[in-house]
């Protein structure tokens, strides 16, 4: 199964992956409209970590684990693994208890505090290559087959 991996040596901390993620999950799928006009603007499901003023940065994201800790911790059943291996979250079902935030060892679940819903990477079901990967200007994000055990 293909997953998104990040290469810290080439990441410049531009946060465009986050912008692309928000846009992709917005209603209009248009960045300007999503950021300025949409109510309940989505939150980014990838997180750019930085330190020392950007000397080091990289984008972290969901690993779609074979044995997801988030799924086992979720008390509502909102998190399920689909047939393709993508770990999906049904935000309708989610009650915002943050058990998944507590359990994911990658810190890959985000809290949408306003909506009181957890959000996580869904691999962009409407696209072949996830939006964050397409948006990265210097290919610091790659979409490739991985071999997690």
């Amino acid at each position: 199964m293909k997953r998104v991996y990040s290469l810290e040596d080439v990441c410049i901390g531009c946060h465009l992956c986050e912008v692309a993620c928000i846009t992709e999950h917005s209603r209009s799928k248009d960045p300007v409209r999503a950021f300025l006009h949409e109510e309940n603007r989505p939150i980014a499901r990838c997180t750019v970590e930085e330190r020392d003023g950007g000397i080091l940065s990289f984008s972290t994201n969901c690993r779609h684990c074979d044995e997801p800790d988030c799924l086992r911790a979720c008390v509502s059943g909102a998190i399920q693994k689909d047939e393709a291996g993508v770990v999906r979250m049904d935000t309708e079902q989610c009650i915002g208890c943050w058990s998944c935030v507590m359990a994911c060892p990658y810190g890959a679940v985000q809290r949408n505090v306003k909506a009181k819903k957890a959000n996580k990477c869904d691999m962009c079901p409407d696209r072949e290559v996830p939006a964050c990967v397409c948006a990265c200007p210097n290919r610091a994000l790659v979409f490739k087959e991985g071999t997690p055990k």
């Binding site: 997953r3 972290t60 911790a73 509502s76 935030v101 507590m102």
Partner: protein, 425 residues
């Protein structure tokens, strides 16, 4: 193979999936005394409070039992296990043979003897869908409630009741609420917020008598002598492993059903998982019941795989809790109240005004526990560091930083933990 599972909650679900990872042929029978399909038990307070409807209670996609070819017997109670004859007996007399048996019966609410309780109509426990539905059904007659017990279940009951505009007083014997997970600071922050919302929290006291004539309740008398008027009482002192039906089965039961690292009990072909089981804890290998949802799932998964002949070993249970109380998110994990002494190092950050608190517990340079209030994002990274027994001394100073992330780890560690290949199973 003929698998029989007693109980139909998260440990059972983990086991069904575990069995099916290894064995797609065997028959699986699940027996539950409840009449519902598996549901999010922690959701019952949301059901009571109205934040969740009955439609959202089921924990699984509708086709789960069919897809996994599970023969589901609802509303049936197992009254005994005959491990010599390899069969279980149901109330009513039916007998079901098993090849491998899983005990996943969870916990029963513990109700201590309280004077005056007999015959009172509105004394409830709060652990099942039906409990929540019953209280909700009566809610028009409820005005003021005393919740005995300030643990997870008591706090959740209080929150649900508060949401439907009931007056609530919590009585907790310990010096703080959620004493198993919280320390004094965390308990105080949350209790303060609850009081601001009109919920009374009484610490260091407990109920000794329920007052009132016949069915009627007029209040509760506390050990201190104080009297709290109320019309309804919820007893939420805790749960005990639901193992009493195993008497005479030869299966070793201590506080819970004692299991090894493959979830096997002392009797061949019988396994146990979840709140009913007493398995090894992560840090010191002590066997104890660990009544939390994620651990019940993990134990169920291991039991299922082992029952089907697969190989897997329990890493030990790590206590962790995530609970949001009156808009303060709280996450706690591992050892949160270490014994004083030089073995442990404790780092804290406290901003009372903003209800932000971080406490990090280290043992010999390794992370063993954390309490996070207010800012809980990416808390799971800590859980990962604990489980991997990572030496955190090199980046210790960053652990209190709300922006703490992989970026603060030495490169080599970051590479093995975070990228590129992802987490091992």
């Amino acid at each position: 193979m003929n698998y029989v599972i007693i109980g139909n909650s998260v440990a059972a679900v983990g086991a069904i999936r575990g069995i099916r990872k290894v064995d797609s042929e065997g028959t699986i029978t699940v027996i539950s005394r409840e009449r519902h399909v598996a549901y999010g038990r922690p959701l019952i307070s949301y059901l009571l409070g109205g934040a969740v409807t009955e439609k959202r209670m089921p924990y699984l996609p509708a086709d789960f039992y069919e897809k996994n070819r599970v023969n589901l017997l609802l509303g049936r109670e197992v009254v005994s296990v005959d491990s010599e004859a390899s069969q279980v007996k149901l109330a009513g007399g039916d007998v079901i043979p098993y090849g491998r048996l899983l005990i996943a019966t969870g916990g029963d609410p513990f109700v201590p003897p309280i004077e005056g309780m007999a015959g009172k109509e509105r004394v409830f426990t709060f652990t099942t869908w039906d409990d929540a539905a019953r209280i909700k059904g009566m809610s028009a007659d409820i005005r003021k409630v005393v919740v005995v017990g300030g643990g997870l279940i008591g706090l959740k009951a209080a929150e649900g009741l508060h949401q439907i505009d009931k007056q609530v007083t919590i009585v907790e014997l310990a010096d703080r609420i959620l004493s198993a997970a919280f320390d004094l600071n965390a308990g105080r922050i949350v209790a303060k917020k609850m009081k601001a919302n009109g919920i009374d929290v009484i610490n260091g006291d407990t109920a000794v008598r329920i007052d009132g004539e016949g069915e009627e309740i007029i209040g509760v008398t506390l050990k201190s002598g104080d009297f709290i008027p109320c019309d309804t009482v919820i007893v939420a002192i805790g749960v005990r492993p639901a193992a009493s039906f195993l008497k005479g089965s030869g299966i070793e039961v201590n506080r819970g059903v004692v299991v090894d690292d493959t979830m096997r009990t002392s009797v061949p072909n019988v396994y146990a998982a979840g709140d009913v089981a007493e398995a090894r804890d992560f840090f010191y290998g002590k066997k104890l019941p660990m009544p939390i949802w994620p651990d019940a799932y993990i134990q169920g998964d291991i039991a299922g795989i082992s029952m089907a002949g697969g190989e897997i070993e329990y890493q030990g249970g790590l206590l962790m809790n995530s609970i949001e109380l009156f808009k303060i998110p709280t996450i706690s994990m591992g050892i949160t109240n270490p014994d004083p002494g030089d073995r442990y190092e404790v780092l804290t950050y406290l901003d009372l005004g903003a209800s932000v608190y971080r406490k990090i517990v280290l043992e010999e340079g390794r992370l063993v526990g954390a309490v996070l209030l207010g800012k809980v994002d990416r808390a799971g990274i800590f859980a990962g560091l604990i489980r991997q027994r990572v030496e955190v001394a090199p980046f210790k100073d960053h652990l209190l930083d709300p922006e703490f992330g992989f970026v603060h780890l030495p490169k080599e560690m970051r590479t093995t933990l975070f990228s590129p290949e992802g987490k091992a199973a």
